[in-house]
Symmetry: C2
Subunit: 247 residues, 2 copies
C-alpha cells in the first residue's frame, strides 16, 4: 500500500510548521504510518509568487495526488504599500483571484481532495514594531509593515473564496482573537506563531479533517501492526493486506 | 524541481522519530525546503517482517529513489528466546543476511543512494524491568526480554555488514555507552530514546550525511528564496531555476 499524502502549502507559517512544536509536526505525528505530511511552505512568498509553484507541486498528471491540502497564504499579500515589506504586497482582488486559481487547480488534480483554506493569523502591530527594533535597532521602521485592519480583508477573501467554491476555511484571524492576550500568547513577533499558536492551527486542521472523514483513525496503517503478525506465519499478515510481495 | 527524499527505515525507534524532540523531526527541519524526510518506522518489527515491506517501500522501478536511507533495526531481532518478546526474535545469522538483502536491494534501487546502517541502541535491563512492572504490575516478567550482551552481537552484525558491503554504519550501541548515565540519559524505558537520546541519533546521522556531501547546505532549495525574487519581474527567479511554468 502506498501511503497517502497530505500537503501543507503556504508561506513561512507553513514552512516553520516542521520546527519543534510546529503544527506540521503534530499533524505528521497524528498520521504516523497512515499518511505522509509534506510541508510545502515558502517563507516570504505571497500568492503571486506561489502561483509559479502550483503546477510543479501539484502536477495534473500525478497518479497519487494528495488526499488533503491546506492553503495558507495572505500574511505576506497583506503587507502594506509604502512600508518596508511593500515588495510582498498583492492587491486584495488579485489575492482573491489567486486563491480561486489554487482551488480550481487542486480540484482538477483530484475531485476528491479535501481542500482547506486557512486565513492569515491576526497581526499584532506592537509585536511587529518590537521585532523590527530587535532586528534593525535605530534603523527600524516606526510604522508597522502590516496592520490587523488590512489583514482582516485578506482573511475575509479566504472565507469568500471558500464559500464560493465549496471548500473549507479555517478563520484563524477570528479564532485567535477570541482568546485574551492572543497578541503574545499565539504570536511570537506579531505575525509568526508561538508553540501555543501552532497548537491552535493543529487543533483546527484536525477538526476539519475529522469532519471530512479523514481522521487518522479512519485511515488504515500502510502495513499491519506488529501484533497482527503471526510469528510462525508472518506472510499471512501481509497477504491479508493485499501486498503482492515478491522476494 | 522535485524535492529529493530521505527515508528512515526501521522499527519503533524510527517510528517515534516523528514525535516531539524526535530525530526525524530534527532531520526534517534541517532539510526544510531541500529534501523530504519520510519516516518508514514500524514499531515491533524485526528484519524478517520488514523484509515483506522492502519492495513496496523501495520499488526498483522508481524514477525518484531516495538520495539517502537509514536502516535501523536489531532492537527487536535481539529479543531473547524463551522470554516475553520471543516472537520478535530473529537469529543472528538471519538478521545479518536480512541486512545484506536490504543493502543489496537499496543499491539496486539507486547506485548513488547514501545507505546508513544504524546499530540498535544499548539495552538497560533495569529500565526494561521497571517498564514491565509499570505496565503489567505483579504479572511483570522478572527477567528482561532483551539484554545488552546479546544486543551487542546484533550491533556488531550491522558493523560487519556495513564493512562487507561498503556502506556507512553508526555504532549507536557503543556511542551511547561512552556517556556516563546513558541508561537513563538516553533511554526512557531501557530501549526507546529520550529527547537527549534522539539528539545523539540526529547528530550522528547528520555527521554521516555531511561527510557524504549531503549536508543541507549542499542541497539546493526546491524553489528560490523569496529575497531572490524581483517583485517587478518575479518570473525571472523561476526561469533561472529552470522551472517551465505554464499557467
Amino acid at each position: 500500500m502506498v501511503r497517502p499524502k497530505i500537503v501543507l502549502f503556504g508561506d513561512s507559517i507553513t514552512e516553520q510548521s516542521i520546527r519543534e512544536n510546529g503544527w506540521g509536526v503534530s499533524l505528521a505525528n497524528a498520521y504516523s504510518r497512515r499518511a505522509d505530511v509534506l510541508v510545502r511552505g515558502y517563507g516570504g512568498y505571497n500568492t503571486r509568487w506561489a502561483m509559479f509553484l502550483l503546477h510543479h507541486l501539484f502536477p495534473l498528471d500525478s497518479t497519487t495526488p494528495p488526499i488533503a491540502t491546506t492553503i495558507f497564504f495572505g500574511a505576506n499579500d497583506a503587507a502594506l504599500i509604502g512600508r518596508t515589506s511593500e515588495r510582498q504586497h498583492v492587491p486584495y482582488e488579485e489575492f482573491k483571484e489567486n486563491l480561486r486559481k489554487f482551488v480550481r487547480h487542486l480540484k482538477e488534480c483530484s475531485p476528491t481532495m479535501k481542500i482547506v483554506l486557512i486565513t492569515p493569523p491576526p497581526v499584532n502591530e506592537k509585536g511587529r514594531l518590537a521585532y523590527a527594533k530587535s532586528k534593525y535597532g535605530e534603523k527600524a521602521t516606526e510604522v508597522p509593515e502590516r496592520i490587523n485592519e488590512v489583514t482582516v480583508q485578506y482573511a475575509n477573501a479566504c472565507l469568500e473564496v471558500a464559500y464560493e467554491m465549496g471548500v473549507s476555511c479555517i478563520n484563524l484571524w477570528a479564532i485567535m482573537q477570541h482568546t485574551d492576550g492572543w497578541q503574545t500568547k499565539y504570536l511570537s513577533d506579531g505575525l509568526h506563531l508561538t508553540a501555543e499558536g501552532n497548537t491552535v492551527v493543529y487543533r483546527e486542521v484536525i477538526k476539519v479533517f475529522d469532519e471530512a472523514g479523514l481522521s487518522a483513525d479512519n485511515l488504515p496503517f500502510d502495513f499491519p501492526h506488529h501484533s497482527k503478525i503471526d510469528s510462525k506465519h508472518p506472510e499471512r499478515a501481509f497477504q491479508q493486506n493485499a501486498c503482492d510481495v515478491q522476494l
